[in-house]
């Protein structure tokens, strides 16, 4: 990497979480956020000589991310059966109609604190499912429960984390707020 490329990469990394938030809004398909972010990075770097990096990069990154997210979302859902495509269309429409701006950057920062406040059993469940990639049927088998029960448990954990994030953000949980 030359100096300009290094600088461009650093600019992108500063806005990494912002890009993820935009990707989530325009590509609400499981697992697609990371792919979109990676693709935005590659295309941003490929054209780095075109960008004026002394300006705020967010408007540029938002536009790029939106285009790439929609493109990748179409490619991904096109491979699905009709019934799934209709569902995916509906969910994307819901996501786009949401008035709330993406808050991914703030929320993911607070999430780390909230994770530490979870009860031990809930943390173990998060670690198994999200960090060790153990599927819900496998977890259910290990603990001799129904898979649906594990699904509901994960749902409750996510809801608890959501509550915790809301509480923190509403009271200005960020240290420098």
């Amino acid at each position: 990497m030359n100096i300009a490329e290094t600088h461009a990469a650093q600019v992108f990394l500063v806005h990494h979480d912002f890009v993820k938030g935009v990707a989530l809004k325009y590509a609400p398909w499981p697992g697609l956020m990371e792919d979109v972010t990676q693709q935005v990075f590659l295309e941003f770097m490929a054209k780095e000589s075109q960008w004026d990096l002394s300006m705020d990069a967010r408007p540029l990154l938002a536009t790029m991310t939106r285009h790439i997210a929609m493109r990748l979302w179409r490619e991904r859902t096109r491979q699905q059966p009709d019934v799934v495509q209709k569902l995916a269309d509906h969910i994307r429409q819901l996501a786009e109609e949401r008035e709330m701006p993406p808050r991914y950057e703030d929320e993911v920062r607070v999430l780390r604190t909230c994770l530490q406040k979870l009860p031990q059993k809930s943390r173990e469940l998060v670690e198994l499912y999200y960090y060790n990639d153990v599927s819900t049927p496998q977890i259910a088998e290990q603990i001799q429960m129904k898979a649906d029960t594990v699904c509901r448990a994960l749902s409750r954990v996510r809801e608890k984390l959501r509550e915790c994030i809301e509480q923190n953000l509403n009271r200005g949980g960020r240290a420098h707020a």
């Binding site: 002394s54 969910i91 819901l94 604190t113 198994l128 819900t136 001799q144 749902s155 420098h176």
Partner: protein, 503 residues
């Protein structure tokens, strides 16, 4: 058909069947609020996946959720019964998980390793204390904090500082010196004026209401400010970033260094040791003092001098000499099953106070001895810490009467291991209660069933002798820790006296 939570989970996992996809679609069309719920779960799911590397660096979880013995007849029938109950009650999974072997957990992300002349506006913390995310307000002094990812900070009071995670902190005002080894690269400090991301370096940060100054002493840092492009600062450079940023030259002398801390720590230790010597000598004049071991004996000595006016010296068995609370202060380390100090306490006392400075390494045994009378029965006493961390004064009943365990709530959690603690227990026949204190603060008051005199007699520090001179099956109750002062009075000490000793 599964319920909405399960359908959403299958959507997130990518395992929706065609029928489930159709059902979820129908539900979304009929219940507008379900769409909002699905999007919230979708976003949380994505965020949780993205926290993976930071939340568990290099940690492969082998959780305790998995039962150990799954296919014995007993467990199969038990599991069947439990499953039936769950099916009936629809019990919440996380409450009904099979009981794992309990494993302690911690929310801590850093540790206060050293401090000089610390005065806190927030809750006081002592060196050795693990720190969880939260706000620290330092009024004065220098605190050294080491983050679990490896970054080391010196904070000079007055300062307001928030721990966010093992790799991130925020400073709203005050001076910091930061050392970030390569393993902690990416360590972030947020300030009201912007964020500093460290690329493996040493730098100073001075945050005031008007501006934040970053001085780079070694390596490189990145400055990120809202609506501005990232700026990079290299060795020797400094920048004040406020409304407008201004380049400066780095000024090392403005910030506390490790050598400053070393010299101030040495001075502070020396002062504290001198103060302790004076206070410890004062204790000896008390005629109610029956035992006082200050552990300042020659380190080749195998006996402990009793500094009380009357009374016998103690005898060291196994335990080895080490450094106590400060350099120059002696202590005994108890590690092995054999380690103990044999001593002769009064045969009978109407009232009693015992005090000790001790550093607990862990609670390996069901009963971890602080001071235990030899044998058990007839008003003998066992001052100990239970495996779960309660401090207990066990008092044996006289003439076949039942004993009484006077316990605190759980006090010794893993966060308290490895730190010097002052413990006191008082047997007060006037108020008919036993009182436990830790670091001068009252932990528990327990009403006595029987306030008859105690009979400590021959006893041991850090171990227990059940009186048999030979035989198998002798219970192991040795302490895992270090002790550097012990005293016993045959009177009740007041709170002010206890607090003075704990300072």
């Amino acid at each position: 058909m599964p319920d909405a939570d399960t359908l959403i989970q299958h959507y997130l996992e990518g395992t929706l069947t065609h029928a489930e996809a159709e059902e979820l679609h129908t539900q979304l069309q009929n219940e507008p609020q379900l769409g909002s719920k699905l999007l919230q779960h979708f976003e949380m799911d994505a965020m949780l996946r993205s926290t993976k590397p930071l939340a568990v660096p290099g940690k492969l979880i082998q959780p305790a959720l998995i039962p150990r013995h799954r296919f014995t007849f007993g467990t199969v029938t038990t599991v069947a019964a439990v499953a039936a109950c769950i099916a009936l009650a629809g019990a919440w999974l996380l409450l009904s998980l099979p009981k794992p072997t309990t494993e302690d957990t911690t929310a801590s992300v850093a540790v206060l390793t050293r401090g000089v002349n610390l005065e806190w506006e927030s809750a006081a913390i002592a060196p050795g204390t693990p720190l969880s995310p939260g706000l620290l307000k330092l009024k004065s002094g220098i605190a050294q904090i080491e983050f679990y990812q490896g970054a080391r900070l010196l904070i000079e009071g007055p300062a307001e500082f928030q721990l966010i995670s093992s790799g991130e902190a925020a400073c709203t005002h005050g001076k910091l010196s930061v050392n970030v080894p390569p393993q902690a690269k990416g360590f972030r400090i947020n300030t009201p004026k912007g964020t500093i991301v460290d690329l493996g370096t040493e730098f100073g940060l001075d945050v005031s209401d008007e501006s934040a100054e970053v001085h780079v002493f070694k390596g490189e840092v990145e400055l990120h400010k809202a609506a501005e492009s990232m700026k990079s600062l290299k060795e020797g450079q400094a920048m004040a970033f406020a409304a407008e940023s201004q380049m400066l030259e780095a000024n090392l002398s403005n910030f506390a260094s490790l050598s400053d801390l070393d010299s101030r720590t040495a001075l502070s230790d020396r002062t504290q040791l001198d103060r302790w010597r004076f206070a410890s000598d004062q204790l000896n004049a008390d005629s109610a003092l029956k035992l006082h071991f200050n552990f300042q004996d020659d380190d080749s000595s195998r006996s402990l001098q009793n500094h009380a006016t009357h009374g016998e010296d103690g005898s060291i068995v196994g335990a080895s000499w080490t450094t106590g609370r400060w350099p120059g202060k002696g202590a005994l380390e108890f590690r092995n099953v054999s380690d103990r100090v044999r001593l002769s306490a009064p045969n009978e006392v109407k009232a009693l106070t015992m005090a000790m400075w001790v550093r607990i390494n862990g609670l390996d045994r069901a009963f971890n001895s602080l001071f235990m009378s030899e044998g058990w029965g007839d008003r003998k006493i066992h001052w100990q810490i239970t495996r779960e961390g309660r401090i207990r004064l066990g008092i044996a009943g006289a003439a076949g009467k039942g004993h009484q365990d006077c316990d605190t709530e759980v006090f010794f959690t893993p966060e308290r291991f490895g730190r010097w603690m002052h413990l006191t227990v008082v047997f007060d026949p006037q108020t008919k209660e036993v009182r436990h204190y830790a670091n001068g603060s009252l932990l528990a008051k327990i009403a006595l069933k029987d306030a008859a005199p105690l009979k400590p007699g021959v006893a041991e520090l850090g171990n227990w002798n059940d009186r048999r001179s030979i035989g198998n099956g002798i219970a192991i109750r040795h302490l895992s820790g270090t002790m550097d002062e012990f005293a016993l009075w045959d009177r009740v000490l007041g709170e002010a006296e206890i607090q003075a000793m704990a300072r």
